[in-house]
C-alpha cells in the first residue's frame, strides 16, 4: 500500500491539483548525464530566431518602432548560440538558405510571434535545467511581442 508517508519517506510526493485528473510524481531532481550533443530543440529555436530577426530587419525601414522587438530576437539568438556552445559536440547546423525575406505585415509578424511563443514553450517542456528555463523565458518574451503587435 502506498501511503503519503511512504511517498514522502522515499523522497517522492504525489501532487493532484489543477483540473483534478492531473497527477504528477515529484522526485528530488537529479541532473541527467550531460549529452554529447546539444539538444536539437536549441538549434530549431536558433533557426527560428534568426528567421524572425531577418523578417524584422526587412520591416524596420517602414516601421522603426519594431526595433526593440527585433533586438529582443537578436538577444534570443545570441543566448541560444551560447547554450549550444556549452555542449562538447554542437548540434548539426540547420540549413538557413533561401530568398531574403520580404517585409511582412503587422498581422503576419504577430502570427509569427504567436507561433514562436508556442514552439519555444513546447521545446522548453521536453528539456531540463538552464535550457528549459531559457526557452521558457523566450516563449514569454514572444508572447509580449504578439500582444504589442495586436
Amino acid at each position: 500500500m502506498i501511503t503519503r508517508r511512504s511517498l514522502l519517506g522515499a523522497g517522492v510526493v504525489v501532487a493532484a491539483g489543477g483540473i483534478g485528473a492531473a497527477v504528477a510524481v515529484l522526485q528530488p531532481r537529479r541532473d541527467p548525464p550531460a549529452p554529447r550533443a546539444a539538444p536539437p530543440q536549441l538549434s530549431h529555436a536558433l533557426a527560428r530566431e534568426q528567421s524572425l530577426v531577418a523578417h524584422l530587419d526587412a520591416a524596420l525601414a517602414a516601421r522603426p518602432e519594431l526595433r526593440q522587438v527585433r533586438d529582443d530576437h537578436a538577444a534570443h539568438a545570441a543566448a541560444l548560440r551560447r547554450s549550444i556552445a556549452r555542449y562538447p559536440a554542437p548540434a548539426s547546423p540547420l540549413s538557413s538558405s533561401g530568398p531574403p525575406p520580404v517585409a511582412a505585415t503587422t498581422a503576419q509578424l504577430r502570427a509569427s510571434e504567436l507561433a514562436a511563443a508556442k514552439a519555444a514553450a513546447a521545446e522548453s517542456a521536453v528539456l531540463t535545467g538552464a535550457d528549459a528555463a531559457l526557452l521558457a523565458s523566450i516563449s514569454a518574451s514572444e508572447a509580449t511581442h504578439a500582444e504589442l503587435l495586436a
Partner: protein, 145 residues
Amino acid sequence: MNTLLAAWQAALAAEHAAVAGYDVIGPRLADAAQVTLARDSQQAHRELRDATSAQLTAAGQSPVPAAADYPLPFAVTGPLNAQRFAISLESACAVAWRYLISVTDASLRSVRADAQQALTDSALRAMRWRRLVAPTEPTVPFPGI
C-alpha cells in the same frame, strides 16, 4: 525540503507578495484604465495564489502563508512609482516561476505547464505596465531572468 518543493513554495510566496503589493498600487493610480489594470492583475495573482496553494496541499505540503508585512522596495507615492512597483512585482513573480521550470524534471508536465503559463502571464502584465512607464521600451528579451 528538496529544490523543487522549495522553488514551488517560493513561487507561491511571490504570488502572496504580488496580491499584497497591488493593495498599495491601486490607490496611487489616477487613471481609470490603470486602476482596472491593477485590479485585474491582482485578481489574476489571487487566483494563481489559491491554485498554487491547493496544489501544494494536495502534494502533502504546507503552503507558505502570506507574510505579516511586505516592506516596499522604494517609496510608492504616486502613479509613476506605483507603475514601477507593479513592474517589480511582476518581474519577481516571473523570476520565481522561471526558476521552478529550471529545477523541475520534464516528466512533471502539469507543473511545468502551469509554471510556463504563470511566467508568460507575469511577462505580459509587466509589459502592460512598462508601456506606461517607458513606451518606447515596453519589452525585455528574457522575462524572469
